[in-house]
């Protein structure tokens, strides 16, 4: 690795983080427009076309808000919590493969030759990326607890405690629901899992290969129950409706960020939407073939692009970008479902929430594990 390669990779890491941060205002806009649409209102429609620059205006307003801290609050922890809230989402999103690797051809820079470089479209490709993502996103509890405790307000404290108890309870269901996926793909690496989902639905039974030609080879057809459990658990993990008890505004004002305002509150929003993004991306990768178009292989796409007149130097980059947009479309479908559910379903009660997690989802996840293992054993 020479210096240029390290610089390019550093820029890539920053780019992927900023991409995550940039999706947040877009999501807030979609959420406000969608809620208005569902409730038969207009929503933000004055600032810019369709209200798209509303969030830019909001950002400017947030920047010029008074920096306020309540008298009883623990000052250093109060400021530390929103900064720490950004880390789990950013780290988890960095481990998700967004597209196929692309090559940067040989180029000259200040009359020196560099390249070619093979750049992976993810911040870091770990062998254990799935465990890494689960572990890192669990760290989000710390910033929530810090924020709630440092605010010195009973609403904040109870919101934080509820959020922490809920997140750790549903982490069990989340973890168990993924065991079936691990049994089928025998790996923790997300890139390998995506590669295993190419082509048509196929499985081995006692040495013979069976294919179902009209279904793509996606994880959801191997693990329908696992997907449903994961889907429910991710809603609770992200503190979203119908499980948003930590922010139940009728009881707890705004939960753990009651005392926060301006940009500090906005950082908690970035964290929450970042978790949603990571959850949607994980669902896409594990159950819906990641960045792949069903039945079309990467080689076929680059062949099509080169016959459409894309030059050889740009070919791998444009192929990568095409698959990246496919990935983003799939992710945004799930993000839309998050928003749709929020404005459709009523909120759970807290004891119902904990009961659902511990006595229904967790045993069902274990059942899914046992069934998957036995079927694999019978099919060999």
């Amino acid at each position: 690795m020479d210096l240029m390669n390290i610089i390019i990779n550093g820029i890539k890491i920053i780019f992927i983080f900023l991409l995550m941060v940039q999706i947040v205002p877009l999501l807030v806009w979609i959420e406000r427009r969608a809620s208005a649409f569902i409730q038969n209102r207009f929503g933000p429609n004055r600032v810019g076309p369709l209200g798209l620059t509303q969030l830019l205006a909001d950002l400017i307003k947030f920047l010029f808000k008074e920096e306020f801290i309540p008298k009883n609050a623990k000052k250093s922890l109060f400021y530390l919590a929103p900064i720490l809230a950004l880390i789990p989402g950013a780290l988890a999103f960095g481990a998700i493969p967004l597209s196929v690797p692309f090559t940067i051809p040989i180029f000259s820079f200040f009359s020196k030759e560099f390249g070619p470089y093979l750049i992976e479209f993810q911040s870091y490709n770990l062998h254990f990326s799935l465990v890494f993502i689960l572990g890192v996103s669990a760290l989000g509890v710390y910033s929530i607890l810090l924020a709630g405790w440092a605010s010195a307000n009973k609403y904040s404290l109870f919101g934080a405690l509820r959020a922490a108890a809920q997140v750790i309870s549903y982490e069990l269901a989340l973890g168990v629901s993924l065991v079936g996926v691990l049994l089928i793909y025998s790996t923790f690496n997300l890139q390998t899992i995506i590669n295993a989902q190419q082509g048509a639905f196929a499985f081995y039974s006692s040495g013979l290969l069976y294919t179902v030609s009209f279904l793509p080879n996606w994880g959801i057809f191997f693990q329908p129950l696992g997907f449903v459990l994961f889907f429910i658990a991710i809603f609770a993990e992200t503190n979203r409706h119908p499980f948003d008890l930590p922010e139940a505004e009728a009881e707890l004002v705004a939960g753990y960020h009651t005392e926060y305002g301006g940009l500090k509150m906005n950082m908690f929003y970035i964290a929450e939407y970042g978790h949603m993004l990571v959850g949607s991306a994980l669902m896409t990768v594990l159950f819906f073939g990641g960045y792949q178009i069903p039945f079309v292989s990467t080689a076929e796409i680059s062949q099509f692009l080169s016959s459409a007149g894309v030059s050889l130097g740009w070919l791998s980059f444009i192929t990568s970008m095409t698959l990246f947009s496919v990935f983003m479309i799939k992710v945004f479908i799930f993000l839309w479902i998050f928003i749709w559910v929020r404005w459709t379903l009523p909120r759970f009660k807290y004891d119902q929430l904990m009961k659902l997690g511990w006595t229904k989802l967790l045993p069902l996840g274990v059942l899914n594990t046992v069934i998957t293992a036995i079927i694999l054993f019978i099919l060999k």
Binding site: L63, K65, N125, A165, V370
Partner: protein
């Protein structure tokens, strides 16, 4: 090694980004002198209370139970990844029965926990 370096770099960058946002808000925001009522804790309709930091013991119990079960789930993970290798090596029945015993203990623990009313939230 390079992945670890990348992770550390990302953490550093995110911390800087957060500090930059806070710093910008601090520099650009108006400075007003706080008064006693403004800087008291938020409350609605009642006199604002002093600091409350009593944590109900119920939450500690949930956290302890979570740690026990989470470690058990983590023990299932390597088994799941190695399962197909054992199947191809002909040790399928052994690895399946071994895990079924573990899962039976896991479920026994869960049922005991539910029946001892550790998970009743009222």
């Amino acid at each position: 090694m390079t992945a670890l370096f990348a992770i550390l770099f990302l953490i550093f960058f995110v911390l800087c980004f957060g500090a930059l946002l806070l710093g910008l808000a601090y520099i650009l925001g108006p400075k007003k002198s706080p008064n006693a009522i403004k800087s008291s804790s938020y409350e609605c309709g009642l006199p604002s209370s002093e600091q409350v930091n009593n944590v109900p013991v119920k939450y500690y119990l949930t956290a302890i139970l979570f740690i026990i079960f989470d470690i058990e789930v983590i023990f299932i993970y390597p088994w799941a990844v190695a399962y197909k290798d054992f199947l191809t090596a002909g040790w399928g029945l052994y690895i399946l029965v071994a895990m079924l015993i573990f899962i039976a203990l896991f479920l026994y623990g869960l049922i005991w926990e539910i029946r001892s009313k550790a998970l009743d939230w009222h």
